[in-house]
């Protein structure tokens, strides 16, 4: 009978609930940034996910899970989901995507970024919810008033041309709407030839990126201010 009891207990142990509750703790960081390329018409948006998971697996639990990053990155109709390379459960993840939208004109683009980490066994275990950014290119144009043989003195052109600049006060500009190009007569061609100057700024969520792209024209630009 003792032998039977031992067998019965063994059977009980065999069928005990063996819920495998490994402990996972996420240490993932994310970063989204947008920029305007030097051509003044191409917007880039980069989304980065980086980090790791700490894992505590009970003895006897099946190992071998693969963790894979997924990134959602769109600018307007460009981009989408991208899957990075999978790694072991404790492996370090560094995955980024960049999407570019060209010649967006005066359009207001939605820029969406987010991501997650997916385990081959447990499914999604980390989520960075999608954030939507409003993105457009702001323009502010100035027209030459005069030069002193070295510096060039401009006046804001938006009042004459119509349109409201998104970024009226920025580097090189003062609140009165004037712009002084130090050494503008040494430009090639000089300011006396290119009498219009347009500053293009990336505007994200209605905040101007501090540094703009400068374009010069010798005739009024078609879209001087937005």
């Amino acid at each position: 009978m003792i032998r039977k009891l031992v067998i019965a207990l063994a059977l009980c142990l065999l069928f005990l609930p063996s819920k495998c509750s490994a402990q996972f703790q996420n240490h993932f960081s994310t970063y989204t940034t947008q920029s305007l390329e030097s051509d003044g018409i191409t917007v880039d948006q980069t989304y980065q996910i980086e980090g790791y998971t700490t894992v505590q697996v009970p003895p006897g639990m099946r190992a071998g899970a693969v963790h894979t990053p997924h990134v959602y990155n769109t600018l307007g109709s460009v981009g989408g989901w991208t899957t990075g390379g999978g790694g072991c459960a404790s492996c370090y993840v560094n995955f980024a995507t960049t999407v570019s939208a060209q010649d967006i004109g005066d359009a207001l683009l939605p820029g969406d970024t987010g991501g997650n980490m997916v385990c081959s066994i447990a499914g999604e275990f980390f989520l960075d919810p999608i954030i939507i950014y409003n993105i457009h290119i702001g323009k502010n144009t100035f027209v030459l008033l005069y030069n002193d043989g070295y510096n060039c003195y401009y006046q804001n052109y938006c009042n004459r041309a119509g349109g409201t600049p998104s970024c009226p006060n920025e580097n090189g500009l003062d609140p009165s709407g004037e712009y002084v190009a130090i050494g503008g007569m040494d430009w090639t061609p000089p300011c006396s030839y290119d009498t219009y100057v347009t500053f293009k700024h990336l505007v994200v969520n209605y905040v101007c990126v501090p540094v703009g792209i400068i374009r010069r024209y010798n005739t009024p630009p078609a879209e001087p201010c937005q």
């Binding site: 009980c12 370090y92 980024a96």
Partner: protein, 172 residues
């Protein structure tokens, strides 16, 4: 208690114990605890002041640096990202060099981490690797201090401080 009674009781427990086992079998083999992103991150969009400098610099370096064999497009994107700092051309080139060095070391470090994690499995201890990571960021910041002008260092720091509101950083 007679031994025959004990046997009956033991066998009676089997169906009861078997039921949760079957239910557990339908669940994932392991469970991720506290998977919600907001539980373990500093949300820079809400509290940029809480994002540690070391994490912010690391994320920025990783994002703006180029991996091995970059394309022309990669270089244009890097140029666009760096243009926002408004560094003078000399400082900008110095920063590109420093951050390229960072990236090669960071990629090598990541490879070492993953090799160890794969080989050691559950017994993998990330602590020494995390220290190496922080040391690399610190060394890169020191290199920036030595390679860029004072105004360039200030411009870079001001930019990265501003970028914290675009970051979500894991709590150490």
């Amino acid at each position: 208690m007679k031994s025959s009674t004990a046997v009956v009781l033991v066998f009676a427990c089997i169906p009861i114990l078997f039921l949760p086992q079957r239910m557990a079998a339908q669940q994932p083999q392991h469970q991720h605890v506290a998977a919600a992103h907001t539980d373990h991150v500093i949300d820079g969009t809400q509290h940029p002041e809480l994002v540690p400098d070391s994490a912010a610099y690391r994320l920025y370096f990783v994002t703006v640096s180029l991996s091995a064999n970059p394309t022309d497009k990669d270089k244009k994107v890097q140029d666009a990202h760096l243009a926002k700092i408004n560094l003078d051309p000399i400082d900008k080139q110095a920063f590109v060099t420093v951050v390229a060095n960072f990236r090669s070391q960071y990629d090598a470090w990541t490879a070492r981490w993953n090799a160890a994690a794969t080989a050691q499995g559950d017994s993998f201890d990330p602590a020494p690797f995390l220290q190496q990571r922080d040391d690399l960021v610190q060394a890169t910041r020191a290199a920036i201090g030595q390679s860029l002008s004072i105004s360039g260092v200030k411009l870079l720091d001001a930019h990265i401080q501003g970028e914290k509101k675009r970051m979500k950083v894991a709590v150490p």
